[in-house]
Amino acid sequence: METLMSILVGLLFAIGTYLILSKRILRIILGTSIIGYAVNLLILTMGGLKTGAPPILGQEALSFTDPLPQALLLTAIVINFATTALILVLSYRAYQELGTDDMEELRGKEDE
């Protein structure tokens, strides 16, 4: 199962990287959020998938699943959610103000 997850993480990373390398702002943002999912899956996989009973007091089992990666994951998801919302709003505003969503036209160093 871990092997399968690792392959999936690699695949998502590849898709995200491909999207980030494109020119349109929206595709870039989608790329970052796909990489975000890849990272979340990676954290989950690195903690070990379902290695025992749920970690609750009173459970009688020899081994328990590590709950920490899930806690980390929740934090990471919340942060990812907030930054994605922010960057979406910002890119919409930039599109309105600058009249383009092509990164080629957003380059350059001269101030207006």
Partner: protein
């Protein structure tokens, strides 16, 4: 256990939340935000004295024992940096009162600065590597909003790139944390250090440590600084000053902390790599600073030079070099704020940042000119100003570690930095006075006072080096001997 440790984090957080509710009371905003930053400085001074007497101060949040809960740790380095942060942000707020403009004030400028401060102080004080990530994000989200606040075309264009670069580096940060957790099964930095010492820093741990280095290099602007000049010159002067003084230093702090506490076993690989990166970024930063004829560009490239110098001292990894690094971070936070505010005032008065279009300002603004000059000399390392002590120690450290080339690059680029800033000074302040007081775009009323405080502080830091030295030396000792940190955090608990 010491509850004082959490105050530098929660004071700005709570003040910021309260201010966000009363969003039309600008006077209240100004008063409370200044009070918050000043009280952080007071807390930091108290902490420094306690650390000097009793060693690192710890707070286990929620009373969870060390490796399981989140520990907050104030060792000497953290306390010094929190103090400097408090002072610098106070000065920047004073400058903002007169310059930021009502429109930005109404759009939550002060709460955002306080949230940024929450993240910065949190990064300095946390003893948990995932918590470090969270504090980085708090700081970065506030900086995303600050950099785009006001919504001019230039700001929107640059902030998108800034956010994108930081988003990717945050993902890489998470990836490296995931790998580290998978291998060592802990997130507490002291515990991680003990486990790395036990298992040896071999095999996959080396690539993971390099991944951490890449992440923090992006944040600190060490070699991977391609995003920095554009985004730091887009927002107004005071926001640029806060960014230049604080954000890159947090990245540098993270490199210093991780590579002195956790991955210190193999300096042949990691620390010499940091040295090479530092050397290259000093050279590239100096070339950029010399090449441009635009105040904002020159100043932002100077940020890169000083990050290189700080990490050059760290790469030497001996008592002298580390003392120099810590001293230079403090110096650089003060002087970068000084020089960015002074440069920003020149732009504010003349309405342009191209130094070929400005001349003879010394006739109209003698104080501003001399304070800019003090900043220039201090940055270049002329005694008795504060840069001198730091540069002597860093150069001594690199020579002692046999990195002669690194010390040489440091000295050479100091000269180039001096040239680049003198170029601004000579072009803007000397020559014929073409501007008349009526033609000025803005007045300097209220702007000179905070710059004056920072100029006085760089004098004090240089002249009073003897008094400050003992604290800085203690910070460097703590970096060289991770046992102090680990002992304070884990206490007498047997390491599970």
């Amino acid at each position: 256990m010491n509850n004082l440790v959490v105050l530098p984090i929660i004071i700005p957080l709570i003040t910021g939340l309260v201010l966000a509710i009363f969003n039309r009371q600008i006077r209240l905003h100004r008063l409370l935000s200044l009070l918050a930053t000043l009280s952080i400085s007071v807390v930091a001074i108290l902490l420094m004295n306690q650390v000097a007497i009793d060693g690192p101060q710890i707070l286990q949040l929620g009373n969870w024992e060390a490796p399981f809960g989140i520990s907050l740790v104030a060792d000497m380095l953290s306390a010094i940096l929190v103090l400097t942060t408090g002072i610098v942000v106070s000065c920047c707020l004073l400058y903002a009162f007169a310059s930021i403009g009502r429109e930005r004030e109404l759009k939550y400028f002060y709460p955002l600065v306080l949230f940024l401060l929450t993240g910065v102080n949190g990064s300095f004080l946390t003893g948990d590597i995932f918590n470090l990530f969270v504090c980085f994000e708090v700081m970065l989200v506030a900086s995303y909003v600050l950099i785009s606040l006001g919504g001019t075309k230039l700001q929107l264009r640059e902030s998108f790139k800034y956010i994108l670069v930081n988003l990717i580096s945050s993902f890489l940060f998470l990836v490296s944390i995931a790998y580290l957790y998978g291998m060592l099964g802990s997130l507490n930095m002291a515990h991680l250090s003990a486990r790395v010492a036990e298992a040896g820093q071999v095999g996959l741990l080396i690539p993971v440590s390099i991944l951490f280095l890449i992440v923090f290099s992006i944040k600190a602007g060490l070699l991977l600084f391609y995003w920095l000049p554009g985004s730091y010159s887009a927002p107004p002067a005071v926001i640029g000053a806060i960014f230049a003084a604080l954000l890159t230093k947090v990245g540098a702090y993270a490199i210093i902390r991780i590579f002195s506490l956790i991955f210190y076993h193999d300096p042949q690989i990691t620390h010499s790599l940091i040295g090479i990166l530092a050397g290259i970024s000093m050279l590239l930063g100096a070339i950029g600073a010399v090449a441009y004829w635009d105040i904002k560009r020159i100043l932002t490239y100077n940020v890169i030079i000083s990050i290189g110098l700080i990490l050059a001292g760290f790469a030497s990894f001996n008592q002298i070099g580390l003392t120099g690094s810590v001293y230079y971070i403090v110096h650089d936070m003060l002087v970068k704020a000084l020089i960015f505010l002074a440069g920003g005032t020149v732009i504010y008065v003349t309405g342009t940042s191209k130094i070929r279009e400005i001349s003879g300002l010394i006739q109209l603004h003698p104080q501003l000119g001399w304070m800019f000059f003090i900043g220039t000399l201090s940055l270049a390392g002329i005694p008795p100003l504060s840069g001198f002590v730091g540069k002597v120690l860093i150069t001594g450290g690199t020579f002692q570690a046999d990195y002669f080339w690194l010390g040489g690059i440091g000295l050479l680029t100091s000269l180039m930095a001096l040239y680049s800033l003198m170029k601004i000074f000579m072009n803007c302040f000397w020559g014929n006075t073409e501007l008349t007081p009526e033609m000025e775009k803005g007045s300097t009323r209220g702007l000179l006072f905070p710059i004056g405080i920072l100029a006085a502080l760089t004098f004090l830091l240089g002249l009073g080096a003897e008094g400050i030295y003992q604290y800085v030396e203690l910070a460097a000792k703590g970096l060289l001997d991770p046992g102090i940190y680990i002992g304070a955090v884990l206490g007498s608990n047997p390491i599970p």
